[in-house]
């Protein structure tokens, strides 16, 4: 937990300082002449609060007793499975535009179900196609939410 807290603190510190630096370059109340604070004030105030919270978190983590320091699973089998899943989803989103919803999603479902359920590939393909088509038809035709406006197979 300690390491995780320090990593989070570092990210928040960089973010907070970055926001303050950028916001200082925005117009101020004097530029508008209406007494209204400029667009930079609010992000600066929030970033200061963010930095204060980060400092408190770092202090509490530093003072944390060894028995309170729980282990975070970031490299175990389960976590690795999650990272691979995230990677697959990133590739899926990259392919979503050129391939279209039906093809990309059927492929995505096939990969996951085959990986997790280890069924006969033909059965997996049937399930993947069925899930994709049900979701697609419910949104596109029943609920009138357009989802087929891009890719190889278009309905609009």
């Amino acid at each position: 937990m300690k390491k995780g807290n320090y990593v989070l603190a570092a990210i928040c510190a960089v973010l907070g300082i970055g926001v303050i630096v950028i916001s200082l370059g925005y117009p101020t109340a004097e530029n508008y002449g209406t007494g209204v604070p400029g667009p930079g004030l609010w992000p600066i105030v929030i970033s200061v609060v963010l930095l204060a919270c980060t400092a408190i978190m770092v202090f509490r983590t530093w003072k944390m007793k060894p028995e309170e320091d729980t282990k975070i699973e970031v490299a175990g089998k389960g976590a690795r499975r999650v990272y691979i899943t995230m990677g697959i989803l990133v590739i899926y989103l990259l392919l979503l535009q050129p391939l279209g919803f039906i093809i990309a999603t059927t492929a995505l479902e096939f990969i996951f179900i085959q990986w997790f359920a280890k069924k006969n590939p033909l059965i997996t393909l049937a399930i993947s196609l069925a899930v994709t088509m049900v979701v697609y038809c419910v949104f596109q035709f029943v609920l009138n939410v357009p989802v087929g406006s891009f890719g190889l197979i278009r309905w609009q």
Partner: protein, 494 residues
């Protein structure tokens, strides 16, 4: 009376009843499945309402909300795994009863207690909301600014031991909300020139879907191969006279307490449930049986958590401030329909508001009916394999975030929010404050600057009315109340 007739004629049509029934049914199924929360259910199914009329969509979401909060008790009783965090307290005695072979008795008590808690909250919603809306009409920008600040200060109180982590997450939410064109000066903040997606601001619906549904699905992936089996036999679901007396004595009271917890911005059904459990123990006739399978111990948290549902709707409808994460999503649902939650909703859309009140009563009644009639069916839901369910959740997350604006940018936002939410969960950072920050942050900033604009830059505008001072007092209490109480206790014990 004419209003009631108009509601039935225009809004509560058979189609709406059907949507509500679908909502309650799917809500119970979602709640019953461990790992799927009420917030996740509402976030996932929100895009389904985009093509519906406002009343249809919002009532379906309400059905999911009520159903899911109740549904969580099914796996809590049968598997000792709360389906939603709101059922954690129910798991203690519910599972103890199930182990004694009385799972049906536990589920029956939970169904009836949930119904009673829900009914009390609907009654409070009906009585309090119009009055609060009338009062809120007197609010100017200064009052709304202080209200939003109060809501943001509450973040610390709902973050448990990790107050600084909750506040940190809230700040991240507020900062994300500042991206794009500033509503007061039209100045573009934190968006590169020409990037129209960022210039338009980051929508909070994809972030919600990412934080609550996608990150939860990632967590499910970690132990995707573990399936739990329901062993318990379910008989004697209808409560006997003896149990009925206990439920009637406890559930309405904890439902009332849950309602008031729900009114506090950010405090959700999980808090209502544990407070309900403690209250039930303090007024129980057999407190010594708590922990060993007591019907009173089930009635307390179940009344409390369903009480929160109506309570959370009160600030959402009257002030535009979410009572919890689910009502934050409902603000999004109303906004998409072109409606702005707040006092003006009661003036301009009276029929819709009262349809929601009546719909909430119907949703609770449907929940009770489904609970008693279909409990055996819902236990079957627990057998749905995670290996199929989780990939479906991924697709629903994608389609849900895409559907709002037909934008792939939103899908990326959702995925990033999901990944961030997953890692935040690892370091025990609560993600609900981010949503409060996303909604209340812009509200606070806009009203702060509008108030100063109206007063010509005079900051005394924030101290000019009794309502302002009331909110200032609430802010001080929410920030320092706990510390002052601890100091007084220390002094007393010394």
């Amino acid at each position: 009376m004419s209003l009631l007739m108009e509601i039935f004629r225009t809004s509560l049509t058979p189609v709406v009843f059907l949507y509500m029934a679908v909502g309650v049914f799917s809500g119970i199924c979602i709640g019953a499945l461990p790992g799927l929360t009420a917030t996740m259910g509402v976030a996932l199914l929100l895009p389904m309402t985009f093509g519906m009329e406002a009343s249809q969509g919002i009532l379906m979401l309400l059905g999911i909300y009520c159903g899911a909060i109740y549904g969580g008790s099914i796996s809590a009783v049968l598997l000792h795994t709360p389906g939603t965090p709101a059922s954690a307290a129910t798991a203690i005695d519910g599972y103890a009863l199930a182990r004694k072979g009385e799972a049906g008795r536990a589920l029956g008590a939970s169904t009836l207690a949930s119904y009673m808690g829900g009914l009390v909250s609907v009654l409070c919603l009906w009585l309090i909301s119009p009055q609060l809306a009338k009062l809120a009409l007197k609010f100017s920008s200064a009052e709304f600014f202080l209200l939003a600040v109060f809501g943001l200060c509450i973040i610390g109180n709902i973050s448990g031991e990790n107050i600084e982590k909750g506040l940190l997450c809230g700040c991240l939410g507020i900062l994300v909300a500042t991206v794009g064109i500033d509503s007061v000066t039209s100045y573009v903040r934190f968006a590169p020139a020409g990037n129209y997606n960022l210039m338009g601001g980051i929508s909070y619906i994809p972030i919600m879907i990412g934080l609550f549904a996608m990150s939860q699905a990632f967590e499910n992936i970690e132990d995707i191969f573990t399936e739990e089996e329901v062993q318990a036999k379910i008989t004697n679901i209808l409560p006997k006279k003896e149990d009925l007396k206990k439920i009637v004595r406890i559930a309405p009271l904890t439902g009332l307490i849950g309602t008031f917890i729900g009114i506090i911005p950010g405090a959700g059904a999980d808090i209502g449930s544990f407070v309900g459990y403690n209250v039930a123990r303090s007024i129980a006739k057999e407190p010594e049986k708590f922990g060993t399978g007591s019907v009173e111990a089930i009635s307390g948290p179940e009344g409390g958590n369903n009480g929160v549902t109506g309570g959370a709707m009160i600030p959402m409808l009257t002030l535009g401030v979410p009572g919890d994460a689910v009502t934050a999503i409902m603000i999004g649902a109303l906004t998409i329909q072109g409606l702005t939650p707040g006092p003006m909703l009661f003036q301009q859309n009276k029929v819709l508001v009262y349809t929601i009140f009546l719909g909430m009563f119907i949703a609770n009644t449907l929940m009770c009916l489904f609970g008693f009639a279909g409990i055996r069916l819902f236990t079957k839901v627990l057998s749905v394999p995670k290996v199929i369910l989780t990939p479906i959740i991924f697709v629903l997350c994608v389609i849900g975030s895409f559907a709002m604006k037909n934008s792939l940018f939103d899908v990326w936002v959702m995925l990033i929010a999901g990944i961030v939410g997953y890692f935040l969960g690892k370091v025990k950072v609560p993600t609900s404050p981010a949503i409060l920050g996303l909604i209340l942050g812009p509200m606070a900033e806009k009203n702060f600057r509008t108030a100063l604009l109206k007063s010509g830059g005079d900051p005394s505008v924030f101290f000019n009315s009794v309502i302002c001072w009331f909110f200032i007092a609430l802010i001080v209490i929410s920030l320092f109340g706990g510390k002052i109480k601890a100091m007084l206790m220390k002094k007393k014990s010394a």
